[in-house]
């Protein structure tokens, strides 16, 4: 960050931001954390973006899988009963 930019911000904000950056790092899964252990903030942001994208892909994939599974379920199947019992409890 250029010097002239950093002088505009208070020290407190810089600290807050560093804390938030470390918190983000702690949320990354182990495999992604290793590559960013001594990384710059921008590297960590990139890794965070990559992680979010992979989570979005997992939601897509799991939606496809669930849709497949549900097409084999009819309303009287044992799987449907599982869902009903979870909702009741």
């Amino acid at each position: 960050m250029p010097i002239e930019m950093s002088s505009r911000r208070s020290r407190i904000t810089d600290e807050e931001i560093n804390e938030l950056i470390s918190k983000l790092q702690s949320l990354l899964p182990e495999s992604r954390r290793r590559s960013t252990s001594r990384a710059s903030a921008s590297k960590l942001l990139k890794e965070t973006c990559s992680y979010i994208r992979s989570l979005h892909r997992e939601v897509d994939d799991l939606s496809d899988r669930l849709s497949d599974l549900m097409s084999t379920m009819d309303s009287n199947s044992p799987q449907a009963e599982i869902i009903r019992s979870i909702l009741r409890s």
């Binding site: 918190k23 849709s67 097409s71 869902i83 979870i86």
Partner: protein
């Protein structure tokens, strides 16, 4: 679907994180309804409904107290979103420093509502969004495992 209000509505000292049982209940209700009403639809369209339900139930569980969940609910146009005056509603930040915006440009597009907030707020929202998203993924994995076993 009955919108579950998030825990601690209006009480700032309570935990902001949505509970897992709450997210599970919301999502399973959606699945159950999809199962009942989409028996003749294609696998693809049911998959899209499930995907939408995943994001909707996740955002419902987080409620209005997060910018990302509020932005998601608006985007999904969930009619049950109450028009509430939000004390913590994010204001559009004036562009502060060009460097600051550029470094988070990609992240802003990935986090719902990310384009209208300052850098600090964006980092907070990202952390919460990641937590909820990861929980939702685990939840869907669990449901998939229990159905296919």
């Amino acid at each position: 679907m009955e919108p579950k209000s998030c825990s601690g509505d209006g009480n700032p000292s309570r935990n902001l994180h949505p509970s897992k049982p709450l997210m599970a209940a919301n999502f399973l209700r959606c699945l159950s309804r999809i199962q009942q009403t989409a028996t003749n639809s294609s696998v693809g369209s049911r998959s899209r409904r499930i995907r939408r339900a995943a994001y909707a139930s996740m955002a419902y569980s987080a409620g209005h107290r997060r910018a990302w969940s509020w932005a998601l609910l608006r985007k999904l146009r969930c009619r049950r979103v109450r028009p509430v005056i939000l004390p913590r509603r994010p204001r559009i930040a004036r562009p502060q420093v060009v460097i600051e915006i550029d470094r988070a440009e990609v992240l802003r597009k990935l986090v719902p509502g990310g384009t209208g907030m300052d850098y600090c707020r964006l980092l907070e929202e990202t952390a919460d969004y990641i937590r909820c998203l990861a929980t939702q993924v685990r939840l869907m994995q669990t449901v998939t495992d229990s159905i296919s076993s």
